[in-house]
């Protein structure tokens, strides 16, 4: 786990990063680099720490206990998380820890997804070729959060990620990402409001006329 500076942030943020080919990444690598420069944030590279998928359940549960905000950070694979992040959910969110009568360890914490998606934003709606909005596709994770008693925020997403570098959209996205992390850390985000948005980032992507 990587942690930089700051002894007592208002909210402790844990980023669970899942990208199986970081060396080819154009956007997530930049986001990761930017996040590691923000003080007071813990970052776990899941593929880096568990290259054989042998996730250490105790260690991961301990990490969850020590943080207030959990961020799943990943490129969207088949409308879901890369395999290791699903493995992580299957193993770490145990009965009696995350859910069930005595499973209250995560109550009151916050969960959100930071996603890069290949398709353009127009594709993620009923008329688009992906037919569902990103929020709809993330319902399994949202319900997981609800069952664990966690607050699930709208995703922080970049659409059309394969053309983001050529389109010059990465810099702006990274800046927004850093802003979001700092605001979450310093408790400046209206969490209740953030639950109901379609996504957390202002607009910006290649899509036009998006509302906040």
């Amino acid at each position: 786990m990587y942690y930089r500076g700051m002894t007592n942030p208002d909210r402790k943020i844990l980023i669970l990063f899942a990208h199986p080919s970081l060396d080819r990444s154009e956007v997530n690598a930049e986001l990761l680099r930017a996040a590691s420069a923000v003080e007071g944030i813990s970052i776990v590279d899941l593929y880096g720490e568990y290259p054989t998928y042998q996730i250490d359940i105790d260690r991961e549960q301990q990490r969850l206990l020590e943080h207030d905000v959990v961020i799943f950070m990943f490129p969207l694979y088949w409308y879901s998380t890369p395999a290791i992040l699903k493995e992580w959910q299957d193993l770490v969110l145990e009965y009696g820890f995350a859910y069930g009568a005595d499973g209250t360890a995560l109550n009151g914490k916050t969960l959100l997804c930071a996603i890069t998606a290949g398709g353009p934003e127009e594709a993620y709606r009923a008329e688009g070729f992906n037919h569902f909005t990103l929020r709809e596709l993330l319902r399994p994770i949202e319900q997981t959060a609800i069952l664990c008693g966690m607050r699930f925020l709208a995703p922080f997403a970049l659409f059309g990620s394969r053309t983001a570098v050529d389109g010059g959209r990465v810099g702006n996205h990274v800046a927004e990402w850093v802003n979001l992390l700092e605001a979450l850390r310093d408790d400046r985000v209206d969490l209740a409001a953030a639950q109901d948005l379609s996504k957390l980032n202002a607009a910006g992507d290649e899509s036009t006329g998006d509302k906040a």
Binding site: Q54, I57, L91, V92, E94, Y95, G96, Y99
Partner: protein, 634 residues
């Protein structure tokens, strides 16, 4: 005999004290040796001039060995790519310096023949000091260092025509004392006609190249098979001495011949072992050479003509530096590289001494001028380490800040991994690394193994990797990691200790034979240890579980759980082992603990519940059958 021992003691003692002190003060070993020489020579008079001179001729052999080693590091292809720089920079340096020195001497009213001779004598720089210092300060691979080396090499080549030229400058009034440059009974070629002499020269070089290429392998293999370390050292020495002798006989520079031989052997699998064997001799002889230079400084002459000698020395150095600076500009050596080139080569060198003696024999110079020039050469060599200090303290910091902004250069040797032992274990490691373009240096001390490897085109060097010298020549100082896979229980522990002590930043990955070996390696400081049987046994055990009917994924989980328990208890067992007092083996406490671990393991494996979390099944355990009751409130 006592007399010899006494003298040896004086030299060794002086070096023992002066060199470490000089290094400690950041002055470099060369200056340490020079100062040691001044102390035992002119200052205290412990050694006298005549023996210094004899010793100096002997010690010059260190230069021959150094060039042999330089040749070993330089593959012919690299040399070929340097050819323009060699001839261009080197040629210009020699010609311009000779002309400039001669012109100035002419202006000062010196006879033209003496002026030209002085130019020829002062044109070369000190290969010994410069290369030794480059090596010590890690400058050999910089642009400036490479350019400097090209010039030094050209100067070595230039000595041959210069020796031919000098007798033509003989002064008529000195000729009465008959002298012939090449001592008749030590030269095979003194009386040969020119065309025959040419053939002999070509033949000798042919012997070195062809012999080095085709004969050296079988001979070294034969010697190495004997398993006697001394035998290999003897052979290596015989090789260098033999080549030097051959070159001397036909009137070529021994240093040049040794360099050529080194280059021929640069691709040999014995390269690192040769280096490790010759290196200590080179170090000793060069040190001795520097001491004799220091001891040979004639303070009485210096006092007599203080102004003249100092003026001449500084003048010559300034002149050489100016020419070098100009060449650096032409060759586009930028920033600190240009300065390194300028400052490092600004002295006169040991070839100057040789040429001085030769000039006197050939009646070119009289004794007075020769003594004066010898003093100038020695002083300029003495001042060279100071110039390196100026480079370190003034030039480098000036460019440091600006260089930091640049993208880092690709360093040739970065990321290199040394693999010690290329038996059944090391081989696999090496293949995996090579397949991923990781440059490796592979060492093995069994000649048969080295041969087998070369049959399958896996470059392997012969040598006993548990010797620090060999690890050094294999480049441990610049390596990122060392893989220890040698078939030697104690040897691998010793190697770990040495490397972690001398190069703590090198990551040591070791193969252990068993648990005891694993602990010994860990105690010695190895960063990563794997028991050679562990993973293959686990693999086989897991496969056995599958054959017995366990679902493959369940077998896999059991195996992972086993590993986890092992890992957790490993630390405790190691601590218990550390407390084993003086007992042989593992100690009673350890045995108890080991039994305890076996029990824990047993329990972890036996548990087979579906309503609580055991280690093997955890995470894949479904919630209890009645768990939906929890959600009834919703």
């Amino acid at each position: 005999v006592t007399d010899y021992l006494l003298h040896a003691m004086i030299y060794l003692g002086a070096a023992t004290i002066a060199v470490p002190v000089a290094r400690l003060l950041g002055l470099g070993s060369v200056l340490g040796y020079l100062i040691a020489g001044v102390i035992i020579g002119p200052l205290t008079g412990l050694v006298v001039d005549s023996e210094t001179e004899t010793l100096q001729h002997f010690a010059e052999f260190g230069v021959v060995m150094m060039l042999f080693l330089v040749g070993l590091e330089l593959e012919p292809s690299v040399m070929w790519s340097m050819r323009r720089r060699l001839v261009g920079l080197g040629g210009m340096q020699v010609v311009l310096t000779v002309l400039a020195v001669a012109a100035l001497a002419l202006v000062a009213g010196v006879d033209w023949r003496i002026a030209l001779a002085a130019g020829l004598i002062l044109a070369s720089s000190s290969t010994a000091i410069v290369l030794q210092t480059f090596d010590e300060k890690g400058l050999a691979r910089t642009e400036g260092g490479r350019a400097g080396f090209s010039v030094l090499l050209f100067q070595d080549l230039a000595v041959i025509p210069i020796i031919a030229l000098l007798p033509l400058l003989a002064l008529p009034e000195l000729v009465s004392t008959v002298g012939n440059g090449l001592d008749a009974d030590q030269s095979l070629v003194a009386d040969l006609p020119d065309w025959l002499y040419g053939l002999v020269l070509i033949g000798s070089i042919g012997i070195v190249v062809v012999g080095g290429h085709y004969l050296s392998g079988p001979i070294f293999r034969f010697v190495a098979r004997s398993g006697l370390r001394e035998a290999f050292t003897t052979t290596a020495l015989a090789l260098v001495v033999g080549i030097a002798a051959l070159m001397g006989l036909v009137g070529l520079s021994p240093a040049l011949g040794a360099f050529l031989a080194g280059m021929v052997l640069a691709n040999s699998e014995f390269r690192h072992e040769l280096e490790a064997n010759i290196e200590p001799f080179k170090g000793l002889l060069l040190g001795l050479f520097f001491i004799t230079v220091g001891a040979g400084i004639r303070f009485d002459l210096l006092r007599e003509d203080l102004g003249l000698v100092l003026g001449l020395t500084l003048g010559i150095m300034l002149l050489k530096a100016a020419i070098l600076f100009g060449l650096a500009l032409v060759a586009k050596l930028r920033r600190s590289d240009g300065w390194l080139f300028t400052l490092s080569l600004a002295q006169a060198g040991e070839f100057g001494f040789v040429l001085l003696g030769y000039s006197q024999d050939n009646d070119v110079l009289d004794a007075g001028i020769a003594r004066l020039l010898a003093l100038v050469i020695a002083l300029s060599m003495f001042l060279t380490p100071m110039l390196f200090i100026v480079f370190d303290k003034v030039i480098v910091p000036r460019y440091q800040a600006r260089d930091d902004d640049r993208e880092p250069d690709d360093v040739d040797d970065e990321g290199q991994v040394i693999i010690a032992g290329v038996g059944r274990f090391g081989q696999i490691v090496n293949r995996l690394l090579l397949a991923n373009d990781v440059p490796t240096v592979v060492l093995d001390r069994f000649v048969g193994q080295v041969e087998r490897m070369s049959q399958i085109q896996m470059k392997t060097y012969y040598g006993d990797a548990s010797r620090p010298g060999l690890l050094q020549t294999a480049g441990i100082a610049n390596a990122s990691a060392l893989v220890i896979a040698i078939d030697d229980y104690e040897g691998s522990v010793e190697m770990t200790k040495y490397v972690k002590h001398a190069y703590p930043e090198v990551f040591v990955l070791a193969r252990a034979f068993d648990r005891g070996h694993q602990y010994l390696l860990r105690e010695a400081g190895a960063d990563y240890i794997v028991k050679e049987t562990y993973y293959s046994a686990l693999e086989l055990g897991g496969e056995t579980l599958k054959r017995l009917g366990l679902h493959p994924f369940v077998a896999q989980r059991r195996r992972a759980a086993f590993e986890r328990v092992e890992e957790c208890s490993g630390e405790k067992l190691y601590q218990a082992w550390l407390e084993r007092e003086a007992e042989e083996g593992f100690g009673d406490n350890y045995v108890d603990l080991y039994m305890e671990v076996e029990r824990v393991l047993d329990e972890a494996m036996k548990k087979n519940r579906d309503d609580s979390h055991d280690r093997a099944e955890r995470g894949w355990t479904p919630p209890p059958k009645n768990y939906l009751d929890d959600f009834e409130g919703d």
